[in-house]
């Protein structure tokens, strides 16, 4: 049985004194693919931001490979192996694609950039363009490629498919599925495209008003349309 990679216990967090997520607990093993779904404004993004140390934690524990990281700074968490691709993409607009990728090398040889270009050939075509000149899909690829260059053990993805053309979504999901197949990376995916998320994940957590309202396997959720309608607000047929 794979060891627990990330364990969250009774996590309470928010922005300043305002609590957004309450009493969240879950654990994921190395190689797991957890989809976090729910209606808008239910705390999914805040959960990922909290795992990255970007919010105010009011209580609870976050353990990465057995080490308590709840008090660690954002940069330290990234150094320990958490990679975060936020909804806002967060590339450096004044750096070129190549330069953006080089900032994610974390001491690796520049030849490692070829891995990123092999994964996202479109970025190779744009390598001389500034981040601000890229389309939304290309920015998403760049953000993901830069994060992956750091070889994270935990990858947090916040709505990576938002606003992207279906063909780009397919490309990204195929790439993520390929990554997950290696079994070396744990992926936590927040996504509004429920069908794609459930097809990708091996575990699902549904959030409502900052709390976990349901958790289980994708098959269990998919087989109960009423449950999906009630918890997520969309129908899957």
């Amino acid at each position: 049985m794979p060891a627990t990679a990330l364990e969250i216990s009774d996590l309470n967090a928010g922005y300043g004194p305002t609590r957004i997520i309450e009493d969240i607990s879950f654990k994921v093993a190395a190689g797991d693919r957890l989809a976090v779904i729910g209606r808008n404004g239910m705390g999914k993004t805040t959960l990922l931001a909290t795992l990255m140390g970007l919010t105010t934690r009011h209580g609870g524990a976050i353990s990465l490979n057995g080490e308590d990281i709840a008090g660690r700074r954002t940069s330290a968490r990234a150094e320990l192996g958490i990679g975060y691709v936020p909804q806002t993409r967060d590339i450096f607009p004044s750096l070129t694609v190549d330069e953006n990728l080089r900032t994610g090398l974390k001491g690796r040889a520049p030849s490692a950039l070829d891995e990123a270009y092999a994964m996202f050939p479109r970025l190779r075509e744009r390598r001389g363009n500034f981040g601000k000149q890229l389309s939304g899909g290309e920015q998403q690829m760049l953000s993901m490629a830069r994060t992956l260059l750091g070889q994270p053990s935990i990858l947090l993805l916040d709505e990576p498919l938002e606003g992207l053309a279906p063909v780009i979504c397919d490309e990204l999901m195929a790439m993520l599925t390929g990554l997950a197949a290696t079994g070396e990376m744990t992926i936590i995916l927040v996504e509004q495209q429920i069908e794609r998320a459930l097809a990708f994940a091996n575990g699902v957590m549904v959030m409502e008003r900052g709390r976990t309202s349901w958790s289980g396997t994708p098959d269990a959720l998919k087989s109960d349309h009423g449950l999906i309608d009630r918890l997520v607000g969309v129908g899957i047929h």
Partner: protein, 332 residues
Amino acid sequence: MSDITMIHAPQKRVPFAQEAAGALTILALGAVGYFLYPDDLAFLTRLIGIAFLVLSLDLVTGYCGVATLGHAAQFGVGAYAAGIACIRGVTDPVALLGVGLVAGTIMGLISGALITRFRGLPQLVLSIAVGQLVAGLANKLSWLTGGSDGLSGIEPGKVFGVFGFDMYSRTGYLFSLAVLVITFVVLQRFVRSPFGLMCRGIKDDDLRAKMIGVSIYPRLVAMYGVAGAVAGIGGALTAISTGVVGLDSVSFERSAEVLVMLVLGGAGHLWGALAGTVIFMIFEHVVAAANPFHWMTMVGLLLILIVVFAPRGLIAPVMSLWTKMTRKGKAA
């Protein structure tokens, strides 16, 4: 139509091509100054010294987004350290550069450790305070610095034991030019290194940088140290070539003036720093000679025009034009 340029195949880059081009350009411009303006070499040597300070400021302001109005402190400390060392027996010009570099680095690290803890207005105010503190110390410690009379009697030896400093500033100019070329080439490599790129990333958005594992504060302090080294070299060169260090080298006016030069040329670009220094100082030199009473008004007008018509500095349209020309050349 989008302004995105497709670059389908990776371009083969000649190693050190940019550095070689930079060095040759500076040398060519330097040769123009040397042969066409032999009577103004003292002024041009001073210009090169100030260029180091503007380049140094560019590293922290242009590349890291740190607001400062006290940057002359590092230049002045380098100048005083080299001057004091020279008076006390260290006369080798290269060794004096080393003294200025070390002194500037230490001052840079101290300044950076204080200033980069804060952002925005507190950062700006703190930078002014550091500058004023150094200026105050330079004035008070007159037994060491010469106080308001300045530090005089700086008589460096020959460069490499061969080239003595002359009253026409030929040696001073060529020595300064050589050091500028070397420093500029090193800085070109430095700003494109992973460290330099991450500093630009921090300027773009420090939160994004944190999310990929970057500790902001140590990097900014380290960059301040590098900037201090560059400013210290400039200070030492000025002390060596002029033979005197005055309170003006650490003054608030000097800090403000170099910030204007940087904005004029274009922050965040090494060529911008150089261009700003050259244009500002030559304009000031010419206008001050033509109209000693109202030259500041003319300088003010120039700045207003630049800020209105080229807010990103003069280098931005030049670089844009250069990029278009090279693209056309490749397409042809």
